[in-house]
Amino acid sequence: MSTLTSLARAEAVERGIAQPVCTVRHVHIADRPLVFVPLAMAGEAGAPLAAMVGDDPRSPRLLAVAQPRNRDQRFAFAAGLAAVLLRYIEGFLTGQETVPGGRGREARTRFPDAPQILVPNRAATGFTRLLGRSTRFRRTEGEYAVLPAVPLLGRWLTFLAERAEYPGSSLLLAATDALSRHWATGQSPVEDLNLAALLGWIDPPEGLTGPQAAAAAEDPLTWPPAGPATDPTFDNEVLGRLIAACDRAEAGDDRARQRARSALEDALTSQLMPTWGLMWQAAGLLRGLPPGAHVATRWAADKDAFTWYAEQLRDGGPPQPRRDTAVSAARRLARLERVQAACGAQRAFDDPLVMAEHRLAGEAFAGRVVAAEPGRQDCSGTRRKLRPHITVETADPVLMEPGTVLTSPGRPRQQARIVSVSVTAGRPSRVLLELSGGMGRGLTAAPGSVPEPGEVTCYATFSDGFQPIPAFPDPADTPWTHGGPPPQYVPADEDAREEWS
């Protein structure tokens, strides 16, 4: 949120339709994503009620649980979901591409593509995490055995849900998140959590304005909630009756059971179908935007993570722990912070509209180069160094102090140090910059490496450059202040037996 995006909201109110807050797309949208719309049973923790899932908009697969409180039926649901999801994931476990080494790293290989799961909203991401948690510790033999696909599903779901925490990751994407990152509506961020209302603002149906479409989207009869929570009125007036009918039919013959079950499935389909359509509409809208320059870089990181986890599974690694240990929590936090900073910088470098937010906040400025000394050398040390000076005139407020090091999106490998800033009231500010790096090896700058007078440039206080990873102790060396070395994970009876009721 910033003044710029808020201004876009104000414009959306005036025009009756959502306004762009990005000029390019910042998420990866796969050619063939898997859409997953889960519904949960009200009042229960992570109890699946139904889901619509599939990678083809024309053939959604409905999974339904006739009695959500029945443990066996829940595992049957998990097995049904595993059949679809694992087949989809396994489709990406073929082929390889080589990533060249560099900076002391060896060349390596990874899968050339990765799966992408689209869910309606963040609550669905949370449900995915819970479903992963409730299935990944199950055992496939002995007492309480479940189908082998169930714990495997749990591990993949957990991996995807954890990966979704990384800014810029697109393996598991929430549609409302992705859409509201690219468009500002004329309603509040709270109301943007309703997928149908959000899409109503962005892409209203023929003949309706954004606010009209959003208002229509709030009627749960035409636009049932996108889940995982169901509409309470549907629960009370339809679902309760149909589940009770399924229970009664258990005593009857196959035909009666079938009839009761298909009545329930029809009702659940009616709740899920509208959202299913919205999901593909959302994917299409996002796909229609031109991708930002760094989207491929971030998707490559997703492919790395996917390859890494597939190898973990192949090598028989244990399921993800219930809670992070001290060392892995610290490591994860550091990684998240680095990714957050890098992703923020990449988005700004890819997109002038995002950069404008930073310019308004005084973290960047843009303007025309009015003077340049491309051949200037610094002779103060023992060796002469090429240190060109340029002067940039900008209307943006320049709040940075002399000495600050800046980076330009056009020349990300070049550093610019502020020498001085001259501010005259009512006139654009003039910033004198000293450049270093990215100009070739000699004492003459390579052609095009120093901005020329007349060129419009932008300089920011941040960069997407490499940041060193802080050192963390080996888990075996966890200090006593942090609980000492964590115990090794040993699959326990308790994990496999855990109630799911």
């Binding site: 949120m1 910033s2 003044t3 710029l4 995006t5 808020s6 201004l7 876009a8 909201r9 104000a10 414009e11 109110v13 005036e14 762009p20 000029t23 390019v24 049973m41 009200a42 009042g43 229960e44 923790a45 992570g46 109890a47 819970l130 948690r133 409730s134 004329g186 309603q187 509040s188 961020p189 709270v190 109301e191 709030e218 169901t230 509409d231 309470p232 009125t233 629960d235 009370n236 679902l239 309760g240 219930r322 809670r323 002038p352 509209l353 950069m355 404008a356 310019r359 308004l360 209307a395 943006d396 407020p397 855990e498 109630e499 799911w500 009721s501």
Partner: protein
């Protein structure tokens, strides 16, 4: 009846006063600056009904499954004289448990009248507080009373007041799950605020009987299902912060007179119910009455207040309808139209909007530049 009470009762009209419960009292703390809400809550207005009559029915409902699950969980914890609860307090929280007795205060000899039940709760708790005996006692379904806007309100908590070592503890049961030691933050926060209401009501009752505030602990025992099972688990919640918030909001409601002084003298939310309970007052008239009390709408109201759709409709065109953060981003300017005018028109803005105008113009210029550049 005091003047205030008479006035509030006139505002309420013939519709019966709506009972508060801990949930509605806790909700009072969510938008303390809203006069409309303060007046309605103090007068005990049936807000869902009023909202439907004004043409904006509230969007809330509760699933029968959630209710069934909550009831089943509570019954399980309380079964056999709270055997499960005692086991938890003993094993998980390490409380030393002597012989514990159990008193259910739900009915008084088959007489469910609230006054009687309250008197009995009071009597029993007074006796317990006065006895120096260090026996643990569980009091189920106590009926508490709290002053809300100068009016006594009965609270019927699904809770147990547990007396141990001369202090009362509130035991609150909630059916949201604690998974691997973590629970939904919003739900825990709501439970903490509700528990704070109970702690406050218990304290007031005991203060009447001459006990100090220490007689009721600010540590509340929260009982929730563990992981994906129905098995309960106990957690200790410190509700000191919530107590301060609730107390502050209640004292604000107690000064409702100053709010009422600004209202039209003939204000009434009476719905003119016919004998079968159907309102006869025209919707436009109801809406006009509601509008005469100022609201402070924020999108967060959509989660907690029954009047939210009415107020949202009224707030259309204002920046606060877009959220407080958006309003702040836009320099605190009240209307969307003003924002856009300040951002676009040259001219000299009024002094109080000069700063906002400068910000908005800079934003509009940057946005225009970036969008043109992208084409």
């Amino acid at each position: 009846m005091t003047d205030t009470e008479a006035r509030l009762s006139r505002i309420r009209g013939s519709v019966p006063a709506r009972n508060h419960d801990a949930r509605t009292i806790a909700a009072l703390t969510s938008n303390p600056g809203c006069a409309r809400r303060a007046i309605m809550d103090a007068a005990g207005i049936d807000k869902p009904r009023l909202a439907s009559c004004a043409g904006f029915p509230a969007p809330f409902g509760q699933s029968q499954f959630a209710i069934a699950r909550g009831n089943a969980f509570e019954a399980q914890v309380k079964a056999n004289g709270c055997a499960e609860l005692l086991r938890l307090l003993r094993d998980q929280l390490g409380l030393p448990m002597p012989e514990v007795s159990y008193d259910d205060l739900e009915e008084v000899g088959g007489n469910p009248s609230r006054e009687l039940r309250h008197a009995r709760t009071r009597g029993l708790l007074a006796r317990a507080a006065a006895s120096g005996v260090d026996a643990g006692t569980l009091f189920d379904h106590p009926l508490l009373r709290l002053e809300v806007g100068g009016r006594p309100v009965y609270l019927e908590p699904d809770l147990i007041a547990f007396r141990l070592h001369g202090r009362f503890h509130v035991v609150e049961m909630k059916s949201f799950a604690v998974i691997d030691g973590q629970a939904d933050g919003d739900k825990v926060a709501a439970a903490a605020t509700q528990s704070a209401v109970y702690v406050l009501a218990l304290r007031e009752m005991l203060a009447d009987l001459g006990a100090g505030p220490d007689a009721v602990a600010h540590d509340v025992f929260l009982i929730c299902p563990e992981n994906f099972s129905n098995r309960p688990t106990a957690t200790v919640l410190d509700v000191r912060k919530q107590l301060t918030v609730v107390r502050r909001q209640l004292s604000r409601l107690a000064r409702i007179d100053s709010l009422m002084a600004q209202l039209p003298a003939d204000l009434s939310f009476d719905l003119d119910l016919d004998p079968s309970g159907v309102p006869r007052r025209p919707p436009a008239d109801v809406a006009a009455a509601v509008r005469s009390v100022q609201a402070r709408y924020a999108p967060e109201c959509l989660a907690s207040c029954e009047m939210c759709f009415f107020c949202r409709d009224e707030a259309r065109g204002s920046t606060s309808a877009l959220g407080r953060a958006v309003r702040d981003d836009l320099g605190g300017v009240e209307y969307v139209a003003t924002v856009l005018r300040l951002a676009r028109e040259p001219g000299v803005p009024p002094a109080e909007q000069a700063e906002a105008a400068e910000l908005l113009r800079a934003a509009a210029r940057l946005r225009r530049e970036a969008l043109v550049e992208a084409i």
